[in-house]
Symmetry: C2
Amino acid sequence: MRRPAEETRRHILDVAGDLFYSRGVRAVGMDLVIGTAGVANATLYRQFANKDELVTAYLVSRNEHWWQRLRETAAAAPSPRARIKALFDLTRQDMASPGYRGCATLNITSEFPDADHPAHAAAVAHKNEVQTWLSEQLREAGDANPDDTAGKLLIILDGAQVLAAAMATDTPGDHMIQLAEQLLDTRLPAPL
Amino acid sequence: MRRPAEETRRHILDVAGDLFYSRGVRAVGMDLVIGTAGVANATLYRQFANKDELVTAYLVSRNEHWWQRLRETAAAAPSPRARIKALFDLTRQDMASPGYRGCATLNITSEFPDADHPAHAAAVAHKNEVQTWLSEQLREAGDANPDDTAGKLLIILDGAQVLAAAMATDTPGDHMIQLAEQLLDTRLPAPL
DNA sequence: GACAAGAGAGAACGATCCGTCTCATCCTCG
DNA sequence: CGAGGATGAGACGGATCGTTCTCTCTTGTC
């Protein structure tokens, strides 16, 4: 069984990810992950040394997947502004899907406030990457102060996500789109 | 000791609140609350039947205190728009204070995703009250669609809080103020 | 066909956690 | 002064948690 090693790791990560995301990390015990994955105790601990390591791997994997989705949809966008819109559309789509529980990255920072925790560090790193990506798109689109606008877009993005999750509504999705459009209209030069 | 009963309850609630807020509810055990409060085990459980009850009382108490602060500062405001601005100024002030961990209400919804949990219900109720308050101020200020604007203001407010806590920066505070001002400028009729 | 490696099943450990209980003490009120 | 009630200190139980360990069985490789 040479191959299944990687497969098993992926399977455990998927199962743990679903549980962590839907119920919260601290509310999910390792026994539950093991039982739900239908895997042996030793098998999990051969792939992940700690729960902390499993949690960090969950967040990293989820963020990688998110980047992949964004790049796919952004690739078809003709302009940097369209790429930014693709990000917001993608987020609104997530918010409307059943079982939406908000941004996994933000939930991690809420559950693990200690900045030294590896999962917390991974979360902060991801948010920084997103902000950098936004800033690059904005600069390319002609924004005179891209860092500033990127910070504001991130506020709109995360605020809508956290509210949608808390209130179990998707109206923040529409508000988010409108706010972002309005902000971009005032910051970006008119096209053509 | 007839009087101390209420005093003790308040003391326990304050101590537990500080711990819950700074470290997260699930990360704080009852033993730690008991030890930090310098109180006997039975004393705590005579005031609060469960941990759930203590957590809910913590959130309710904190929100009551927040409303009190808002009403105090808003009382001096001459217009509904000034009252809204008072809310944002108050939030920015909180964000700049040391040990800021974001909005306690949002943290609760993140730690207790189950909508049936009493603390989660209290959190949702509070967010609804704030949105209603905002909507009332906006209607009074002449907003044609106060509910819509209130939802957007809440996104800005909560987004900035969650980002400030996660990234341990207070720049979201400035962004938040600017976003709110800009939104109000486009929604409210010009004064005088 | 033999062997090493990984998988499953599960026991077991120490720690922690929430909550109940006992008991001696101290304060307050009658 | 005496009685009642709340308090502090702490033992205790059952549950769960994260983690380590053993033991057997399967499976792919040589």
